[in-house]
């Protein structure tokens, strides 16, 4: 028994871990990537990047000049999608504002608006939106349509709805993009840490000749690999915890489901990505190449996993590529647990896929890595 304890105590894994944490703390680039990157990403995606459009600068040409027309303007303003920046007269003035880009929308209320309303006829008003950016104009328009409909007016050219469809946005009733984006950020950051930072850390050892030095020592392959990998697992879980805390405290993202199950399933995702990082390190010679190769793996993750753009909107080949990314499944797990309060009972398929990815990739990369250190 004491010999086993002695063997464990003298294992080369402990000095490896100690050294790894010392390096991590002192290497500014790595530290910056681990601390600053999550902060910047959280700010960018949490605050700056929004797919829900708010505060479009809007000009108004009110030919009606009545109580009713002013009520409509007020209703449009109250959607929060439009900021009334000026009152203008004449179609030319409207076009002028839109062309200059000083206004992204224009509300035109014809002279007969109030009289039509009073006589019980369908009153029409026109809302012109600069639709050069289809994403922003879409959500702005739907906001305006809702406001107008509740006001008894109708946007010009839109035929009356044949049926009354009531839309109820579940899980994110306010349709806030941060509720959707911030949980996904956990997946993105874990991918970056596990693929980019891990592969660079391993390649750095090779570049500086310390890997060769280590291979000459009696350190075993398991200790060498675990010593290189375990610290980053810990970093990943720490990043995840910090983001969860900020998501809840700052961005008011609900944490509805079981965090225990989330941390558990995350393990599969972390191992799968670590394996990719390990694999990258066997494919390249320098840290710069490691960075490039990592981005090759990370880019599809950003774009095709459903982190920012809905997968349902993508052409089929893009969706197929998405199916090959562990992040695609992990995002479903993140959003499922955090926003919908579902657990393994519902997410077992995604979990199985993640475990399969992890097993397959780690077997492949450990084999390749072992060969490079022989």
């Amino acid at each position: 028994m004491s010999t086993l304890r002695d063997r464990i105590g003298r294992s080369a894994l402990w000095p490896m871990l100690q050294k790894e944490f010392l390096q991590m703390r002192r290497d500014r680039l790595t530290l910056a990537m681990m601390v600053v990157l999550p902060a910047v990403q959280l700010l960018l995606f949490g605050y700056a990047i929004r797919t829900d459009v708010r505060h479009l600068p809007t000009v108004v040409w009110d030919e009606s000049r009545t109580q009713e027309s002013r009520a409509l303007i007020e209703a449009i303003r109250n959607t929060g999608n439009f900021d009334i920046t000026a009152n203008v007269t004449g179609r030319e003035a409207v076009e002028d504002w839109l062309k200059r880009g000083d206004a992204s929308a224009a509300l035109i209320i014809p002279p007969q608006y109030a009289t039509d309303l009073k006589r019980g006829r369908t009153a029409t008003a026109q809302l012109i939106v600069d639709a050069a950016d289809p994403l922003s104009s879409q959500s702005a328009l739907s906001g305006a349509a809702l406001a107008a409909a509740s006001h008894g007016a109708e946007i010009l050219h839109a035929p009356p709805p044949p049926l009354d469809l009531r839309v109820r946005p579940w899980y994110n009733p306010a349709l806030r993009s941060e509720t959707y984006i911030v949980p996904g950020l956990i997946g993105i950051l874990l991918s970056i840490t596990m693929i980019l930072i891990t592969s660079m850390a391993i390649v750095r050892e090779r570049e500086r000749g310390t890997l060769e030095q280590l291979i000459v020592t009696p350190i075993g392959k398991p200790s060498l690999m675990l010593g290189k990998i375990l610290p980053f697992v810990l970093v990943g879980y720490t990043q995840m915890t910090v983001i969860l805390a900020l998501a809840w405290l700052v961005f008011h993202v609900p944490l509805r489901g079981s965090l225990f199950q989330l941390y558990l399933i995350t393990c599969g995702f972390i191992v799968a990505n670590l394996a990719i990082g390990l694999l990258v390190s066997t494919l390249v010679r320098t840290q710069a190449q490691a960075m490039q190769a990592s981005f090759f793996f990370l880019m599809p993750n950003f774009l095709l996993s459903g982190f920012m753009f809905p997968r349902a909107a993508m052409p089929l080949p893009a969706q197929w590529i998405g199916l090959l990314l562990p992040l695609t499944y992990y995002l479903e797990v993140l959003r499922g647990i955090l926003l919908k309060d579902v657990g393994l009972g519902v997410l077992w398929r995604q979990t199985l896929v993640l475990v399969a990815f992890a097993t397959l990739l780690i077997a492949l990369s450990v084999r390749r890595f072992s060969k490079t250190i022989e």
Binding site: G9, R10, A12, W14, P15, M16, Q18, K19, L22, Q23, R26, D27, R208, G209, T210, E212, Q213, L214, I215, V216, T217, P218, I219, E374
Partner: protein
């Protein structure tokens, strides 16, 4: 740790390494006695580093075999690694770790713990005069200090056999002289040293030399013997003559 008893430190038989089309080392037979300071000399690409890397267990020979301090390099790499020290051209130091932390790391990897380890680190620092730089980051040390620190790391586990691959490339003469003094101190205590170099003054410091050219052994003996063998005035002339022949035969 005393395998092989008093037999030779290194024995190679028909050791050969091929990389694709290139024969890096062909049929090398060498025998190095215990406690010897042995030099491997030859121009770039003559197979010095490949030989050292095979003897350290970093490369598997294509054919032939070798024992180092009694351990077979093919089958006993685990025991072999505990018994040898290796200092590469690149030193293998961690820039973000202090001198002390570098030695501590390597000592720990060899299983040294607690007071035994701390005493060993103090000894290494004393012997190599590293104590004033104990807490300086390895990355900020100058070439000569790095070289000494690398030697301290490579010998922290008191190896029976030490491999030095061009240890003094790029350091000033004073530092090189000090380095050789340390190497001889180690040899006096019974450590066998195999060193590759292309500095002639260093080659003359070795007790015996092996001259390599394009992967094969062309001369073996004391520096004087080697010089006489080629009928040249100095070892440097031998070296230059060798390179000339090499260029003639491989235009």
């Amino acid at each position: 740790m005393t395998a092989g008893g008093a037999g030779p430190a290194v024995v190679t038989r028909a050791l050969r390494k091929v990389f694709g089309e290139l024969v890096a080392v062909q049929s090398l037979d060498l025998s190095i006695a215990r406690g010897e300071v042995f030099g491997l000399l030859g121009p770039n690409g003559s197979g010095k580093t490949t030989t050292i890397r095979m003897l350290c267990g970093l490369l598997v020979p294509t054919s032939g075999d070798a024992t180092v301090v009694g351990f077979d390099i093919r089958t006993q790499s685990e025991q072999l690694r505990r018994a040898i020290g290796y200092m590469s051209q690149r030193y293998g130091l961690y820039d973000e770790l202090t001198a002390y932390e570098n030695i501590r790391f390597y000592a720990s990897v060899y299983g040294l713990r607690g007071e035994e380890r701390e005493q060993r680190i103090r000894d290494q620092m004393d012997e190599l005069g590293l104590t004033p730089r104990r807490d300086q980051m390895a990355g900020t040390l100058s070439g000569g200090w790095k070289q000494r620190l690398a030697l301290a790391c490579a010998t922290a586990h008191r190896p029976q056999m030490l491999f030095l691959d061009e240890p003094t490339a790029g350091v000033d003469p004073a530092a090189r002289r000090r380095f050789w003094k340390h190497t001889y101190d180690l040899a006096k205590r019974g450590t066998t040293v195999l060193v590759t170099t292309h500095y002639m003054d260093e080659a003359t410091r070795c007790q015996r030399l092996a001259l390599l050219s394009r992967g094969h052994l062309i001369a073996l003996g004391t520096p004087d013997e080697v010089t006489r063998h080629f009928g040249e005035k100095s070892l440097e002339d031998v070296f230059i003559e060798l390179q000339r022949r090499d260029e003639q035969e491989n235009p």
